[in-house]
Point group: C2
Chain length 339, copies 2
DNA sequence: TATTGGCACTCAGGGAGTAAGAGTGCTAAC
DNA sequence: GTTAGCACTCTTACTCCCTGAGTGCCAATA
């Protein structure tokens, strides 16, 4: 419907507004961008864009600001992405070296992402997805307590300490461990619940009650993988762009601290490997996020999306750079986890 | 030096300013508090307080605001602390039930504390202090990687995954585990480094290189307990009281996200069990925190301080309530960890 | 000596009025 | 379809002024 030049005008408006933070008018537009036409022509285009709901004037005598819809169109037609700068690549490389610990990797990654984008960055802990059980371990942890360790083949390790009420002999623990491990090893995590049901046929009544005391937390471990954790960094960036929100930052910060809410949102957003999913402003129905944009992509090992990385910021953000940065971090994370 | 009534005036100023957020003048003061004297007398007292550097007038025709020194004196003479309200007690009770997981306990506690105080709350992960090794475990985690688990007698469990480069037989792992466990079990964490030195005399050269590959991360585990972790909640509260800072919130948020800085600060502050340590405004030399107050107390099991809990907020905060809340949470944490 | 009433003085904050400037929409001409 | 021109609309910043809260000081009082 809208002409090619009109779209170029939209793009210019988005770019200028993002960099200057000020409504952009027809005159400044032709000064900065070499359209071959006069300001009057641009004005006509702008009127059209406004009619389409893509831009909007805060007041009569002001320039125009992109609407959520405008950003959306801009992003959808975004073809060339910014490259990371040399120093940014450098930072990535430094990050890549050493670090084996999952927490460490994720922690460094969020911080880097938030610095790269100047936004709030978040990384979802890898979920088990279609992962399999690599091994189950039981370890005595003093008195009546036992630590259950679940190792899955995506490298994630989870543990839980369970109080069994009665003291166990070392041999008993070994026996139970062997039983659990042999039954569950190699099974998909999804199947663990089913498999655990028909265990313990060969055990004494006492032992089987103990076993059931162990299985319950084990299932919770598996399950806690779905309602998993989130790591966030760079909230200070939010305050810096406070003006871009309606001063509603505190509710936004609340929403961000409520990891549960974010996780739900994130998991709703479909983003396969190397694809980016984006919710702009009012596209988010979640309270507190309606004037923010959420940008995520998936990461994970071996072609299988395991979790999401992304940023949260004002709708007025540099989508192009941010998408590039989020992708880069996602690729890096995938590589790290693949190892 | 200053008279009893003058101090009462200071106290009234602090209280009024904290609750109204506005400089308080002599007239409003006698209206709200029943001093038996006239406003002129109060003015004389105020002049005295100002001379002492305890209060300060933002401008000539405004009321007075407490200085950092004023808050300090107020706090030092604070004798009656506010009680927690019934609903607050209720929240604590609810928190007390169930929950075994350390992360869970700490997580709930920070959130509760931040809600109780309307400030940024923080909890330092329990350090090992004088803790002892309860057991050391080695668990194979696929291919060439091994998980090292260190269980200490304060209930803390730490693990690390180490890539050994070569694949190990199950029996070898058991053997190494037994060796490590027998040597280190019961030892104070501080001694681990020394004890680890004279291990492996009975092993083949190949095995002893593997062993040293295991000991290194083990020592790091012990050591990582010193530069330990921090959990923070309620940063949104900061934004809400933005006006109380010089609009410098973003640098403050940065400082808060830099857990390392906070940890250093916290560890400098001496706060034994049930004692509260407080830095008011400029008493903090750390950049970004100079207009904030940091309030911490210790918590831990068996009469031994293990780590700190506290809040960060504007110097204009309700010290009395906050101290009460921080103490209550600390007591709760101590109780939970004692179990 | 401590307290008080009185009074002149100061100054931030809140309108009201004004001028400048940016930007628009419209129309008529190219 | 594009452009120049123009009248019109608002925001923003600035100035001026006024009001009210609050002070400091002084002389009188108990």
């Amino acid at each position: 419907m809208i002409s090619e030049r009109s779209f170029e005008v939209l793009r210019a408006i988005v770019q200028d507004y993002v960099s200057t933070r000020e409504p952009v008018g027809s005159k400044t537009l032709i000064e900065r961008h070499a359209f071959g036409v006069s300001s009057a022509t641009i004005r006509n285009d702008m009127a059209l864009l406004e009619e389409e709901g893509l831009i909007h004037a805060p007041h009569t005598s002001a320039g125009r600001v992109p609407t959520d819809l405008g950003y959306r169109l801009f992003v959808d037609r975004l073809n060339e992405l910014k490259q990371l700068s040399a120093s940014e690549r450098q930072a990535m490389e430094t990050l890549l070296t050493d670090t084996v610990d999952l927490d460490e990797i994720l922690g460094r990654s969020v911080r880097l992402l938030s610095r790269l984008t100047n936004q709030v960055a978040m990384i979802q802990y890898p979920t088990l997805g279609g992962a399999k059980v690599r091994s189950v371990e039981l370890v005595s942890v003093g008195e009546t307590r036992v630590m259950i360790i679940l190792v899955s083949d995506n490298g994630r390790i989870q543990q839980h300490v369970q109080d069994l009420g009665t003291e166990l002999q070392a041999e008993e623990i070994v026996k139970l461990r062997n039983l659990l491990d042999s039954k569950l090893r190699g099974a998909a995590l999804v199947e663990v619940a089913k498999l655990s049901a028909d265990l313990g046929s060969t055990l004494s009544p006492q032992q089987s009650t103990i076993l059931s005391n162990l299985v319950t937390p084990l299932l919770e471990l598996v399950d806690s993988n779905r309602q998993d954790k989130l790591m966030v960094a760079g909230t200070a960036n939010l305050v810096r762009s406070e003006g871009d929100f309606g001063g509603n930052i505190s509710s936004l910060l609340d929403a961000i601290e409520e990891h549960v809410v974010l996780l739900r949102l994130i998991s709703e957003m479909e983003a396969d490997h190397d694809e980016v999913s984006l919710r702009i402003g009012s596209e988010n129905q979640i309270e507190g996020l309606t004037s923010a944009s959420v940008l995520v992509t998936g990461y994970g090992n071996q072609a299988q999306t395991v979790a999401k990385v992304g940023v949260i910021g004002p709708t007025r953000m540099d989508y192009s750079s941010n998408i590039a940065a989020v992708r880069a971090i996602a690729r890096y994370l995938s590589k790290s986890l693949g190892a």
